[in-house]
């Protein structure tokens, strides 16, 4: 999965949603941030930043996290589509006062 394509619509929001998904998986798999850091080779500080959506991932880091956290491809695609939808709605509101009251 190409990260640049997935987060092209809103990098920040995609990062935030992805971080939420990482946290859900962390709970589901009974992992700690320490263990995630150990398994992925990413520093603990950065793992926590990923969980809170504050770190811009590289493609490599993204693939590693997805693999280690057993994340579902379809679900990640959904996160991207959500940012895409929000992007379009914001654009439509700006250009023609979309459904303004």
């Amino acid at each position: 999965m190409n990260l640049e394509t997935l987060n092209q619509f809103n990098k920040r929001e995609f990062g935030r949603l992805f971080g939420l998904y990482v946290k859900r998986q962390k709970d589901l798999l009974n992992l700690t941030s320490d263990k995630i850091a150990e398994a992925t080779g990413i520093t603990l500080k950065e793992v926590k930043m990923i969980e809170s959506g504050r770190k811009r991932l590289s493609q490599n880091e993204f693939e590693t996290i997805v693999s280690v956290m057993q994340m579902d491809r379809g679900e990640i695609l959904n996160l991207s589509k959500i940012t895409h939808v929000e992007n379009i709605l914001n654009f439509l509101r700006e250009i023609n006062g979309f459904l303004q009251r």
Binding site: N2, T5, L6, Q8, L17, L20, Y21, R24, D27, L28, L29, N30, T32, R73, G74, E75, L77, N78, L79, S80, K81, I82, H84, V85, E86, I88, L89, L92, R93, F98, L99, R101
Partner: protein, 300 residues
């Protein structure tokens, strides 16, 4: 018992969505003791006995909780099976399919977490498992109350608008409809799928459709007689109609085409509410209206 077992139990509670007001009983603790532990005020509360009690409460082996090998769906079916009885107001004149709102709960879970979406379901007095069968029907009152509860929880109109746009989140649970939308290559094809599937989405409105290569016209009518139980306040009606308007305009997104709001007209008569929609197809639709250069990247 140690902090690792505490953590495992917390994770379990969050993962399966065990309602916190039922947790004391499930764990064999007094409500105060449970609250002290849950809030982090007291530790060394959770013993082996709590896991045994929880296992018995949920009809599972307590070791599966410790090992993380429990069947989540089974646990949730046990937790929420007593919620199968629905409020009466949602069982009258059941003309809406749950399919038409399933994506909303999926969206709430992705954006705000399982506990939030379960909480919304509980506020509606319905089971969080309500969407296990999308062919089930429910009253339009359910949807009206859903929008109202989300508004009470701080959702602005712009947030509610987004709910209309994310139907793709649950379309996978209706594979045939998903396949038909995916195959559509232009607006005509897309709205042909919509026309064919109206009956699988909503039967509250009486619908007439007229589709040709330039536009798709839909005439809908919601009669008061068959919906006497619905609160037809202007606020409720406006919310529902706005949701439907945006939803209608976003069907093309399911076929990877740009969304486009229809022209619409609403009129209130003594016998009901008339809504007429006209979806004008762009003249050069096939080439310029696809959303991303690499179409395949969003169509998995």
């Amino acid at each position: 018992m140690g902090s690792s077992k505490d953590k495992k139990l917390r994770n379990f509670i969050k993962d399966v969505g065990l309602p916190l007001n039922r947790a004391p009983e499930a764990l064999g603790l007094s409500p105060l003791t449970f609250l002290d532990w849950w809030s982090g005020y007291r530790s060394r509360v959770i013993q082996k006995a709590q896991f045994v009690q929880l296992g018995q409460y949920l009809h599972i082996n307590e070791d599966t909780i410790l090992e993380g090998t429990y069947d989540k769906n089974f646990v949730r079916s046990i937790l929420f099976s007593d919620d199968a009885v629905m409020p009466e107001k949602y069982t009258q004149n059941k003309f809406s399919y749950l399919r038409s709102s399933a994506h909303i709960f999926k969206y709430l879970t992705l954006k705000y977490g399982q506990h939030f979406s379960d909480m919304i379901a509980r506020k509606l007095n319905v089971s969080p498992l309500i969407y296990s069968d999308l062919n089930n029907k429910i009253s339009l009152n359910y949807f009206i109350d859903l929008l109202e509860i989300l508004t009470d929880h701080g959702f602005k109109q712009s947030d509610l608008d987004q709910l209309s746009c994310v139907m793709f989140l649950s379309l996978g649970q209706t594979p045939q409809m998903l396949a038909e939308f995916s195959k559509a290559r232009n607006y005509y094809d897309c709205y042909e799928v919509v026309a064919k599937n109206f009956k699988n989405l909503d039967n509250n409105f009486r619908i007439k459709t007229d589709l040709d290569r330039t536009c798709f016209k839909v005439t809908t009518f919601l009669d008061y007689d068959n919906h006497a139980h619905i609160d037809f306040s202007k606020r409720n009606v406006d919310k529902v109609l706005r949701y439907r308007l945006i939803l209608a305009g976003w069907f093309p997104y399911l076929s990877n085409l740009a969304p486009s709001l229809p022209e619409y007209k609403v009129s209130y008569t003594s016998d009901g509410i008339h809504c007429d929609y006209t979806f004008n197809f762009p003249a050069t639709e096939s080439r310029h209206m696809h959303l991303v250069q690499n179409k395949d990247s969003l169509t998995d």
